[in-house]
């Protein structure tokens, strides 16, 4: 069959011809090379994925973004009596940077008070993950998510509020 013939020819051609320049023996996977390894780590082993009980009084939920933009982040924080964040969970519909930003930031807010969490800037997240400028909006979504969570908790009677990314 022609395909087998092509396969044989191909093997013969590769074996005999053209030695390509020596390449390091590692995986040449495309997206991973473009990303910093911290992003890849957070993406492959995301921390704090999941959900908290949204009906609980101690849990604040924030939902930021839009499917049409390719970026939707849901963030939940559980706050104790002293206003300290004891647990955080996220779910993200977005690119690798968005997932990594959310994962890293949920790690950061745990153990902080609500006021401290609000001071986390998206540029801090971007710097930690070495995100290129075009990916800054991924980390912005997170910081806004924190604001929304907190707002949601102070207004227990209202539904999850939405706000625009600026």
């Amino acid at each position: 069959m022609a395909a087998a013939g092509a396969g044989r020819l191909r093997r013969a051609a590769s074996a005999l011809l053209l030695r390509p320049p020596r390449l390091p023996a590692r995986e040449l996977s495309a997206p991973a090379r473009l990303y910093h390894k911290k992003v890849v780590d957070h993406y492959e082993n995301p921390r704090n994925v999941g959900s908290l009980d949204k009906t609980s009084k101690n849990v604040g939920t924030g939902l930021v973004g839009a499917p049409a933009c390719g970026d939707v982040m849901k963030l939940q924080i559980q706050v104790d009596e002293q206003g300290r964040i004891v647990d955080a969970r996220f779910k993200t519909f977005g690119c690798g940077s968005a997932i990594a930003s959310s994962s890293l930031a949920t790690e950061w807010v745990k153990g902080k008070t609500v006021e401290e969490a609000l001071t986390i800037k998206n540029t801090d997240i971007a710097k930690e993950l070495c995100l290129p400028p075009v990916k800054l909006h991924c980390s912005k979504a997170f910081t806004l998510g924190v604001c929304i969570c907190v707002y949601g908790m102070t207004q227990p009677s209202c539904a999850v509020p939405f706000s625009s990314l600026s």
């Binding site: 005999l16 994925v49 049409a68 933009c69 390719g70 779910k91």
Partner: protein, 406 residues
Amino acid sequence: MLLRTAWRRVATTAPAAPGPRAKPPTRGLRLRGIDLTPQSAVASDAATALEAESVLRPLYMDVQATTPLDPRVLDAMLPYLVNYYGNPHSRTHAYGWESEAAMECARQQVASLIGADPREIIFTSGATESNNIAIKELEAAIQPDTSLVSVMTVNNEIGVKQPIKEIGQICSSRKVYFHTDAAQAVGKIPLDVNDMKIDLMSISGHKIYGPKGVGAIYIRRRPRVRVEALQSGGGQERGMRSGTVPTPLVVGLGAACEVAQQEMEYDHKRISKLAERLIQKIMKSLPDVVMNGDPEHHYPGCINLSFAYVEGESLLMALKDVALSSGSACTSASLEPSYVLRAIGTDEDLAHSSIRFGIGRFTTEEEVDYTVEKCIHHVKRLREMSPLWEMVQDGIDLKSIKWTQH
């Protein structure tokens, strides 16, 4: 002749089909049987070198972007890269004559693939240049009301086949020029420029297992279609495209066209089967997967699927050992999703979730199975991480939510 001697010498010293081939190929990351020892390697050490050093490379499932060189094409090109290096426009010596003969032979091969006359084929540097020449013709048109219709034969993102024959009929009856960019179609589906009443056609070498940097434009002679040259110079290619014709590249293009003509039917059958396999397996295991593009008028080797509630770039990152492409914004240089998907009316969130699978002449069933398996696994994993999936599972209608805008 020199080449044959060299070939024979290397062939006898290097044991053919060395060790690694006997092992079952490692799934996912294709073990390339090209040895990577330094340049001073002796041919007889090829076997041990191959076993010692192998680079793990991703599977290649992006044939719409470019294709590997078919070895038969390389065979055809080599003599013109090594020995027969004359300028095909040199009239005064054998080097020129033999290059010219090769160039004309290649022209005949390209012409016969599309049912044209060889005098109607002009070699260019690629389909982009051909498109530019064709479109520029519009400006050079004599009659004030002349217009041009330009349509892609097979779309590179979703694989949809346009009704070229019908469009050709309409154009010829209205005396309007008809150009088609057939880069993804030539050699894959049967094309006949006379049957389909095509006046101008762009052909790309590296989309049909030929070399990069070469293409052709078909320009109808009867009735004559006049084009204006983009680059001026020595008047080569009937004055329509000055510049020395690169003999090795056009020989490669010609060989690629000839091979494509021989293999078209078999390739089409095999690729259709593999495409069917890929789609069936994915659709069976995953809900909420949409295939973009008309399923009937579709070239099987280009499959564009949208996986709802999962973003395309994150899926590409997960499928790191398969070379794929996405219609998602994150992967384009701008943050805009694919214009093609937008044009066919795909919802924006699905446009962000699309992946293009390319199946070509050298794609194996095992590669397809591996890709499908990984794809299913990662889509499930990413859906677990997706707030949209969670909301849908809870019965919320996503369209009822007022999302924020960037």
